[in-house]
């Protein structure tokens, strides 16, 4: 029993990889091969699908747009969450517990509920179809999450660190930037990872708030699937490319992923 233990994760990982493999292998097939015959791996290996994506601006600008708004969102969320998480972990103040819970309830709001009001709000203030609009909209669920994760990490740092720094003559901002933030660098990494992840994978709001200039890659894909018939190879190649940024980010934070949630409190 104990010896067969490795079988469970192995079978699970194979199950996880099968649909991904199918997508990747399809991206290297020609349309004829996809529609004409059932093959387990590409018979006529082709990079044509990828060439289309990298040379057609409607395709590659989607990637650039997605990366821009995800970056703005991650930086913004973590920056404002840092002082707030510090306040929640170090001080008691009027309404602190209610505020914390209210922040978390925003994590529960269905994006479908907010799609239309967001569209009207952002149109009214004139930032519809900008990267900023999507980045701001995604802070609705990313800021609460970042505060939650950072607060957990900060509570693990003993208060003596703060006090020693003040005795040594540090001002609060200097202490916070030069000593405190580097101490919880792992927590900042984990929070940034989760902000990146949820902003990267979300589509409903990103699609509603953009038209042309800031359109995310994922939305370009849905458009293509319906407008130009059934170009499965191209769709598969675009899908494969959306997996890569995530995979790179996971590799960097692999040692912290599991800890991220464990240190947070409910």
């Amino acid at each position: 029993m104990a010896r067969a233990k490795w079988l469970i994760p192995t079978i699970y990982i194979i199950f996880l990889m099968l649909p991904i493999y199918w997508l990747v292998s399809m991206s290297f097939k020609t349309t004829n091969e996809i529609l004409g015959s059932f093959t387990l791996w590409p018979q006529n290996f082709t990079l044509e699908n990828y060439r289309t994506i990298f040379t057609d601006p409607t395709w590659y600008s989607g990637y650039i747009n997605s990366i821009i708004y995800v970056t703005i969102n991650t930086v913004l969320s973590v920056t404002v969450a840092l002082p707030a998480a510090y306040a929640f972990s170090r001080y008691r103040f009027l309404g602190d517990k209610h505020l914390f819970f209210w922040l978390l309830t925003n994590r529960m709001a269905p994006a479908a509920v907010f799609a239309l009001p967001f569209f009207q709000l952002y149109s009214a203030i004139g930032i519809f179809d900008t990267h900023l609009a999507v980045a701001l909209a995604h802070t609705l669920f990313n800021i609460p999450l970042a505060v939650w994760i950072l607060e957990g990490f900060m509570s693990g740092v003993p208060k003596q660190l703060d006090e020693t720094a003040y005795v040594d003559g540090y001002s609060f901002p200097a202490f916070f930037v030069k000593i405190f933030v580097p101490t919880i660098a792992a927590g900042v990494g984990v929070a940034a990872f989760f902000c990146f992840m949820f902003s990267w994978v979300e589509l409903l709001l990103a699609k509603t708030l953009t038209a042309v200039a800031a359109k995310p890659i994922a939305a370009t894909m849905t458009k293509t699937a319906s407008s130009s018939g059934y170009e499965l190879g191209l769709l598969a190649a675009a899908g494969t490319l959306t997996i890569i940024p995530g995979a790179i980010v996971i590799w960097f934070v692999r040692n912290y992923i599991a800890k991220g949630f464990a240190l947070g409190r409910v």
């Binding site: 199950f15 479908a112 995530g246």
Partner: protein, 287 residues
């Protein structure tokens, strides 16, 4: 940690408060505003009172969508949580394989949701997809675009594929936080592996499992993109979950009043269930 009382801490929280309030309160008020009015276009609105709420609460269409939503959410919770715990228990605790497992398992979490839908759409095609072709070759009559049962099977399998890893990561984080001394003590007492699970591992995982159940509950109740790409709510209405129905009413038919009323009821249902889960799962700690 004993915290000092400091009202100036509000200044630290202010930026978060302003940003989230801007995003949460203005749109929420818009929704409340629409939910009690009627419009015939041209920005002319009439007071409708609670009529939309009554209409939605009585409509069979809403009941059906809510029923499907509850069935979906509780099915995936019943599969993903135990499965996630089993996988986390079987994972290695040390060594080079830990990173490999974690990285590979986290992959589905980082794929954009519509790509997940598109991937399973392709994977399940009866003639062109690996899953569809395999099932049909094995003699099953599988076609998720025509048969509701197959659509549900694909939908649930897709969600298990997509999100079980989150439960695994959380449960694993709880497990690695257990000191070795606990296991040594259990071995000296001659505890069975079931006893170790029941009295050492499960209590230690309780907090992270609470987070897992809450997150999976909220996210599965809000699910929109994946099923809308995979089945579009079909065949017929058989996989039309709450979000899909809501978007159909709000952006498809542009019935703002009923859509807004439905949004509020929807949000309240999520809050209510989350509160029940939270209370039930943390009750033991307060005693």
């Amino acid at each position: 940690m004993n915290k000092t009382v400091n009202q100036k801490a509000w200044f630290f929280v202010a930026p978060v408060l302003i940003l989230v309030a801007f995003n949460a309160i203005v749109p929420l008020m818009t929704v409340v505003n629409y939910s009690v009015q009627e419009t015939f276009g041209d920005n002319v609105f009439f007071w409708a009172g609670l009529r939309w709420f009554e209409e939605i609460l009585r409509s069979p269409r809403f009941h059906d969508a809510l029923g499907r939503q509850l069935f979906f959410t509780f099915t995936i919770l019943a599969i993903e949580v135990p499965l996630g715990v089993i996988i986390a228990l079987a994972m290695p605790r040390k060594g080079p394989w830990v990173s490999v497992c974690l990285v590979l398992m986290a992959m589905p979490l980082l794929i954009p949701w519509n790509v997940v839908g598109a991937m399973w759409n392709i994977f399940g095609l009866p003639e062109l997809g690996l899953l569809g072709k395999t099932l049909n070759t094995l003699g099953f009559d599988y076609n998720y675009t025509r048969q509701p049962g197959d659509a549900w099977f694909t939908l649930i399998l897709m969600d298990v594929w997509h999100w079980t890893s989150l439960v695994v990561l959380l449960a694993y984080a709880g497990l690695v936080s257990i000191p070795d001394a606990y296991y040594q003590a259990a071995r000296i007492d001659g505890a069975s592996s079931w006893a170790i699970f029941r009295y050492i591992q499960l209590p230690k995982m309780k907090r992270v499992l609470t987070i897992a159940v809450l997150l999976r509950f909220m996210d599965s109740f809000n699910i929109y993109t994946e099923p809308s790409v995979l089945t579009g709510g079909g065949p017929g209405n058989s996989t039309t979950l709450l979000s899909i129905d809501l978007v159909k009413i709000a952006l498809g038919q542009f019935d703002l009043g009923p859509a807004a009323a439905m949004s509020l009821i929807y949000f309240l249902v999520i809050l209510l269930f989350s509160w029940i889960f939270y209370t039930v799962m943390t009750r033991g700690e307060e005693q």
